[in-house]
């Protein structure tokens, strides 16, 4: 169990505060937030690359706040991989072990094992500049995992890969985590990636943790307007606009809008064909409402349609 308690870290014009955050063992945790939300700082504090001004970090009950990076039992994969350009893949991966003064054959065994796991066994003699971006990343992951850390920290691991590769690697990461059985803390600004991977999602905004929970919890039951807006598409209208009582705002997802039936009438402003479904944007009393329709649905721009909202699933937010 990784626990952050009362952590505070201030930079010029920015403060990160985490009252209490717990990541259970063997969990794939994703820290999600826009840039400047403090997610990378959080990762670096867990790693030990930054020292918090106050608060403590506990790993399996041990306070590691004052421990140097290499004594924390964490592995880090940097966004740009940060391989040692002057060392072979083998030596790159072996570096953490060498510094633990491990016997040579034990080092060899472990490096070869992790290289096998990451499918880079035939690259061990090469230098980083001879590898593709994806291979370099695997080396970086191998280097982080070879010391068998309790926690693996991934800093935007998919951001340097092209779109096709990203999906493959995404799946690979999750499988890897399951195979190795480590706790993963993965930082990203991509909500889709976060939801796809996370057993546990930690949404951050402006230096604070907004909400912690499973992707489903966060998507369906966001505690704040920020989380609602940040995760997936959403519609947000004053309650009165939908003829409901109260001064709050009502939020609902496009899939909670049913087209062609209902009490509300709107005009089709625009539609996007997205393969598995169509996203229809409605003009309703001066508001725009996104709705999901089957791909075969036949609307034209300017059509007047009826629609309904599944108010059971709708959320209310204070203005």
């Amino acid at each position: 169990m990784l626990i952050l308690r009362g952590v505070r870290k201030s930079f010029k014009g920015f403060t990160l505060r985490v009252e209490e955050l717990a990541v259970p063992d063997k969990t794939y945790a994703v820290v999600l937030g826009p840039s400047g939300s403090g997610k990378t700082t959080l990762l670096r504090i867990i790693a030990g690359l930054e020292k918090p001004d106050e608060g403590s970090i506990l790993l399996n009950g041990v306070d590691v706040t004052r421990l140097p990076v290499w004594e924390r039992d964490v592995g880090i994969v940097f966004q740009n991989y940060a391989l040692y350009p002057h060392l072979t893949v083998f030596d790159n991966i072996a570096m953490p072990l060498k510094n633990k003064r491990m016997p040579k054959d034990e080092i060899r065994r472990r490096v070869e094992h992790i290289a096998e796991v990451l499918n880079i066994k035939d690259q061990l003699h090469k230098y980083p500049h001879q590898l593709s971006g994806g291979q370099q990343q695997r080396v970086a992951i191998a280097r982080a995992l070879v010391k068998e850390p309790k926690v693996l920290l991934l800093d935007e691991p998919l951001s340097n890969l092209d779109a096709r590769l990203r999906l493959d690697v995404r799946g690979f990461l999750k499988e890897l985590q399951r195979n190795v059985g480590a706790t993963v803390v993965h930082v990203t600004h991509d909500q889709e990636e976060a939801m796809a991977l996370g057993d546990l999602m930690i949404v951050m905004n402006n230096g604070r943790v907004e909400q912690v929970g499973t992707p489903e919890e966060l998507y369906r039951r966001p505690k704040s307007l920020f989380v609602f807006n940040f995760l997936g598409l959403g519609n947000l209208l004053p309650a009165r606009a939908l003829g409901l009582g109260g001064d709050e705002l009502v939020g609902f997802r496009p899939e909670d809008v049913a087209l062609g039936v209902g009490d509300y009438v709107a005009t089709v402003a625009r539609q996007e064909y997205l393969g598995s479904y169509k996203l229809v944007e409605l003009e309703y009393n001066g508001f725009r409402i996104k709705a999901r329709a089957p791909p075969a649905a036949d609307f034209k721009e300017g059509d007047v349609v009826k629609f309904s909202v599944d108010l059971e699933k709708a959320l209310r937010f204070a203005k």
Partner: protein, 563 residues
């Protein structure tokens, strides 16, 4: 692509360089087969001069040996000192780089003179070193005094290059090292040192060149030691030139040219191989970060090393005449006396004027010619690798090698001992450096700027003048700084090509063109030695480069990456 306008911009500097360097190199070779007779004629001796150097000259082996010592000891010591200093700079902040750089910006003759005054066994701190028993013999009587001065001059360059190498290590690699359990000396050995090994190699070669060509410290120091004992090939060949033995001088120059060529070829080869040096990592190597206090100590020591000669020079320069030759020497003057400055400036005025003229003219010339050529080389591939290799080659060969043929050429042009002799020849030293600095500067330059200007209907030349040049300010400021420094501190060319001070009676004739460096050298000659005046002149000689340095500090720090 390579249209006429590109040639128009790129060729002037190239043509100049080829004309003023290829011909002398060939001419030296021819001259090295002759010797001067009793009657003053040249006589063919075949390989006689070469045989003499290696078989008969009682100082031949010593001089070759000295050259090797200077060439190897200077970079080794400078780099051994520069690495901890660069590490301390990385830890404590780049703002300390500028003060450390100062020795690189003052005339070499001033640097040598300042150290010799400082170490003088009777009137300098050398007296105390001797009387406290720290040293046994005259500290300025050994070749290590030359090495000391050269280390002092080369140290800043070594620090700069190594520091820039350290800064170029990605932050994430540093953090990865931390995660892998590398810190302090352990991380230095496993990560920093291999990654900065190309910079160390560059620093080694550049500072080795300082040692290889060293001239000014020998010029200043030789009176304390005995003839030939300090000489390297460069100085010995100048001595031969100065005593009229053109053939022997050319012989020594040919040998020096060969060694210089080999050095620069080896360097280029080593750099292009891009190998990283790896050292074994002993397991006892501590992995804790070195305490900040130690870094502060290292940096302070470096700053003191840099500052001490200046401080002593200044103290002497304000001492009244009778206190200067006082034994034991007083550290602080009893009163501030300006006599030395008044004398140095009155007597030195013609020299000062010439130095300012030629430095300013040559700086402007160099900036314009070098920028035009460097831009075309970098952006349009003008001249290709071959031209760049030749430029690097010129940088790695001493300007001394041109003096004999150029001297004869200038005398044919009837411009010896005039300002024009210097204006014509100084670009030989400065244009290669200018091109090199700007070539590197333009590597980060967006060529679309020029293309946009062409699209807007400008000619290439106009685009270069109106668009590229204004955007090259930082690079030109730095190239100009180096051009100014070389011009201001030059000693060999003015020694060889001028004989009299600027004739202030006929200022517009610009005849008589000895420079301020010569004035300082003159004041250090045993026959005319005046410690107070020479110290004051030294301080004066430091001022213009420092003014320039301060003026372009921002540009420089941008290029150094220390800001």
């Amino acid at each position: 692509m390579k249209d006429k306008q590109i040639l128009f911009l790129a060729l002037p500097a190239v043509v100049y360089l080829l004309a003023f360097t290829l011909y002398p190199i060939a001419s030296n070779l021819a001259l090295s087969f002759y010797e001067r007779t009793y009657e003053g004629h040249l006589r063919w001796v075949g390989l006689g001069n070469y045989v003499w150097l290696f078989e008969k000259d009682p100082y031949g082996p010593l001089i070759v040996g000295n050259t090797i010592v200077y060439t190897l000891a200077t970079p080794s010591i400078a780099i051994a000192m520069a690495i901890p200093t660069a590490l301390a700079l990385r830890r404590l902040g780049g703002k300390w780089l500028l003060p450390i750089m100062i020795p690189a910006f003052i005339p070499p003759v001033t640097a040598a003179m300042a150290w010799y005054l400082l170490l003088n066994p009777l009137y300098g701190l050398g007296y105390y070193l001797l009387s406290w028993g720290l040293i046994k013999a005259n500290p300025i009587s050994s070749i290590w005094a030359i090495v000391l001065v050269d280390v002092w001059r080369a140290f800043p360059t070594a620090v700069l290059i190594i520091y820039s190498g350290l800064r170029a290590i990605p932050k994430s690699v540093e953090e990865a090292a931390l995660a892998d359990g590398l810190a302090g000396p352990r991380k230095f050995l496993a990560v920093d040192l291999p990654l900065i090994s190309p910079q160390i190699l560059t620093a080694f070669v550049l500072t080795a060149l300082t040692g290889f060509f060293t001239f000014d410290p020998i010029y200043i120091g030789t009176a304390q030691v005995g003839p030939r004992l300090l000489d390297n090939l460069a100085y010995y060949s100048y001595e031969a030139f100065a005593s009229g033995e053109f053939g022997y001088s050319a012989t020594l120059i040919v040998i020096m040219t060969l060694i210089g060529t080999a050095l620069s070829l080896a360097y280029m080869k080593a750099l292009s191989a891009r190998t990283f040096v790896k050292l074994p990592l002993p397991s006892w190597m501590p992995r804790r970060e070195v305490p900040k206090a130690i870094h502060a100590l290292v940096l302070s020591a470096a700053l003191i090393f840099v500052a001490v000669p200046f401080v002593w020079l200044f103290l002497i320069s304000v001492k009244p005449p009778d206190e200067i030759i006082q034994v034991p020497p007083s550290v602080l003057p009893s009163r501030l006396a300006l006599d030395n400055y008044i004398q140095a400036l009155t007597n030195g005025l013609p020299f000062l004027l010439i130095s300012l003229y030629v430095s300013i003219i040559n700086t402007v010339l160099t900036i314009i010619l070098a920028a035009a050529t460097a831009y075309q080389m970098r952006i349009h591939g003008f001249g290709g690798d071959k031209l760049m290799a030749y430029i690097l080659y010129l940088m790695s060969t001493p300007t001394l090698i041109y003096i004999v043929p150029l001297y004869l050429l200038l005398s044919k042009l009837k411009v010896l001992d005039t300002l024009w002799a210097l204006v014509l020849t100084y670009p030989i030293m400065t244009i290669p450096y200018g091109i090199w600095i700007l070539y590197n500067y333009y590597s980060g330059f967006n060529r679309q700027v020029e293309e946009a200007a062409l699209a807007d209907g400008m000619s290439r030349i106009k685009a270069f003048v109106k668009v590229v040049l204004p955007l090259s300010r930082n690079g030109m400021a730095v190239a100009g700084l180096y051009a100014f420094l070389f011009s201001w501190g030059a000693l060999i060319f003015p020694l060889a090509f001028t004989q009299t001070p600027y004739n202030l009676g006929k200022p517009l004739s610009f005849s008589g063109a000895q420079t301020f460096s010569i004035y300082i050298g003159m004041l250090m000659s045993p026959v005319t030695l005046s410690y107070g005046q020479v110290a004051a002149a030294g301080i004066v000689s430091i001022i213009p480069p420092l003014i320039y340095l301060m003026a372009v500090r921002r540009s420089l720090e941008k290029i150094w990456g220390a800001g």
